[in-house]
Structures are given as structure tokens and as C-alpha cells.
């Protein structure tokens, strides 16, 4: 039986202009949704893993991460 892929609970978007690349959101994401990109800014790597816990939004010091619930 093929592994059932979890459906993401929320959609993460990152404002690249506001992100200063501190890496705090990547550290506090429990599912590894976020990663640092080559130009040292946060990027969404595994969007399907998101559980919508909201850590990234709360921990981002730059108001650069925002979540949207997926119905």
C-alpha cells in the first residue's frame, strides 16, 4: 500500500522582501516545511507537510511569514 500523503492544513507564504534570513522560522517548524534558500532567505520546501501549528508566524521577528487555512 502506498503511503498516504497528509493533506496540508495551512498554506505558508513568505514575503521575500521582508525576510532577513535569520532562520528562526526554519528552526521552530516541527515538520520541516521551511528551509533556507540559496540566497539565505526562508522558503517553503515541503508545503504538503504543514500542520498549521502557527509557530512560523508567531516566531518570525519580521512579520514575513503568513499562514492561510486550507478548508
Amino acid at each position: 500500500m502506498a503511503a498516504v500523503k497528509a493533506t496540508p492544513k495551512a498554506e505558508v507564504t513568505i514575503k521575500k522582501d521582508w525576510c532577513k534570513g535569520c532562520g528562526i522560522c526554519v528552526h521552530y517548524c516541527p515538520k520541516g516545511v521551511l528551509a533556507m534558500s540559496e540566497n539565505l532567505k526562508a522558503e517553503v520546501k515541503n508545503p504538503e507537510e504543514c500542520t498549521g501549528c502557527g509557530n512560523c508566524e508567531i516566531y518570525c521577528p519580521d512579520f514575513a511569514v503568513s499562514l492561510r487555512r486550507i478548508q
Partner: protein, 270 residues
């Protein structure tokens, strides 16, 4: 944004000026969420600040805001509160602004028990002016004015506030943003002088000089070395060495300044 109400922010002023990984943004975001949770109207909230990194905060908040002179945030806020007692006043101040330049204002406002909420952004250093040691720089840490480590002991603001007469004291770190939020909510609900200390990482001004690593390492350091107040009561002094106690320290109502003042006026009018 799911948890942050963008109407509380002046979006046209963002992104803010703080360095990458600065904890001020985390505490600022907690403050906006706390005000949202309290359900205050935008017009009835006033944010007052002094000078420093943290004191840039009101510029990004969409409430009544007052950016004042160095150390005098509490003095201006006292005047504002007396003139408009219905206003919910939050003071955003830094460790240097509040405990050095504004130290006397702080202890006397606590003594009066005037209904103000001080949110102390403690980043252990004077960040904006170039990394000088503040009264809250921990003993032995390096700063531009203490190149071989500071030989002064740092303030424990919780003890200071409690001794001076504050009726609500609480501390949290940037690694516990939900605790900062809930402490601010409780502080606002307390009728009297409330102090919330937010211990924040300053990776550029403080961390780099003390070789504490980048923003993530500093956040881990705050997380690993913090102990809840309930747990700390069962620990010995030896075990608590180098740890920060977080949580609600003190919450005991006392006569509030403006209420007492109004009573005098009412009495004399008779």
C-alpha cells in the same frame, strides 16, 4: 496572517529597521496579539516608548503612539494616563531606557501603582548606540564599554519591580512568545502597575561580541536555560545558577493611584 491582525500594524512602515534575528519583532508581534485578545478598540490604546531599538516599536503599531525622550516613557505615560484615565497605556521600553536613564521613573511609577503596563524588551545591551553595557548586561559579558567583561552585577527587574511596589510582574523569553502574549494580557487586566520582561536575543550587538552564535543559537540558549517559576521554587540556588526563571512572578492588587486621587477630589468637592 492567521494569528496576527494586520490592522494593528502600520504596514506601510514595515519592514522594520531591526537586525536579522532581533527578538524585538517577536515581542512586538506578541504585543499586537495580546491587544487583539483583550478586544480593545484602536482608539483606546496608547503605546508609549522612550529611545532605543525597542522604542522604535510604536512606529510600526496602528494605535495612538508616543515616541518620547530617553528614559522618560513612563513619565510621559503617567501624564497621559492621569489626563485620560480610560486610555489603556502600554509602555514599550528597553533595558537601558527603563533601568538606567529611566530608573527613577520606573521605581516611582511602581511605588504609586499607577495603572500602566510596562513591556520591557531586555536584549542585555544598548543596541542602537553601539553595544554599550546596560544595567541588565549579565555579569562578565563583553560590551564596547566593557571589553574585558562587565564587572557590574545586573538588575533582576522582577525583584526590583516587586520591591518598588508593582502589582504584577512576569517574565518570558523570545523562545516563549505565547507566554509573552499571555503575560501581557494578564498585565493589562491588572489594575495597577504591571511589568512584563521579555528576554530577547540581540545577535548583532550582544551575541556576536560574546560569541553566542547566530539568532537560532541564541534562541536555543534562551529556551534551554529557562525554568518555569513553579519548578524554580523546588530548585536550589546552586541548580538555578545561570538559569532564567520565567512565568508569572507576582500578582497582588493594591490601591491604584488614579482611583485614590479621584477619591480625594470627590471628598473635597463635598
Amino acid at each position: 496572517m492567521l494569528q496576527i491582525n494586520v490592522e494593528n500594524l502600520r504596514m506601510q512602515k514595515l519592514p522594520h529597521i531591526w537586525c536579522p534575528g532581533c527578538g524585538n519583532g517577536i515581542a512586538l508581534s506578541a504585543l499586537t496579539r495580546a491587544i487583539d485578545k483583550l478586544g480593545y478598540d484602536h482608539d483606546e490604546v496608547a503605546i508609549v516608548s522612550g529611545i532605543g531599538c525597542s522604542s522604535r516599536s510604536p512606529g510600526y503599531l496602528n494605535f495612538n503612539t508616543l515616541h518620547t525622550t530617553h528614559g522618560r516613557a513612563i513619565a510621559f505615560a503617567t501624564g497621559l494616563k492621569i489626563f485620560k484615565p480610560k486610555m489603556k497605556v502600554f509602555i514599550v521600553t528597553g533595558d537601558g531606557d527603563c533601568t538606567a536613564i529611566g530608573g527613577n521613573h520606573f521605581i516611582h511609577a511602581a511605588r504609586r501603582n499607577i495603572d500602566l503596563n510596562v513591556i520591557l524588551f531586555n536584549n542585555n545591551i544598548y543596541g542602537m548606540t553601539g553595544g554599550q553595557a546596560s544595567p541588565m548586561t549579565p555579569f562578565g559579558r563583553t560590551a564596547t564599554t566593557a571589553p574585558y567583561g562587565t564587572v557590574e552585577r545586573n538588575f533582576d527587574i522582577m525583584e526590583l519591580a516587586k520591591a518598588a511596589g508593582a502589582t504584577f510582574c512576569g517574565r518570558a523569553t523570545a523562545a516563549h512568545p505565547r507566554l509573552i502574549e499571555s503575560l501581557i494580557v494578564k498585565a493589562a487586566q491588572n489594575k495597577g502597575f504591571s511589568v512584563v520582561e521579555a528576554m530577547l536575543p540581540c545577535p548583532i550587538g550582544f551575541g556576536r561580541r560574546n560569541k553566542l552564535g547566530g539568532p537560532v543559537e541564541m534562541m536555543k540558549y534562551l529556551e534551554e536555560n529557562s525554568v518555569r517559576v513553579q519548578k524554580a521554587q523546588k530548585m536550589s540556588e546552586e541548580e538555578l545558577k545561570g538559569k532564567f526563571v520565567i512565568g508569572e512572578f507576582y500578582n497582588k492588587p493594591a490601591p491604584e493611584y488614579i482611583e485614590e486621587y479621584d477619591k480625594i477630589i470627590a471628598k473635597l468637592k463635598k
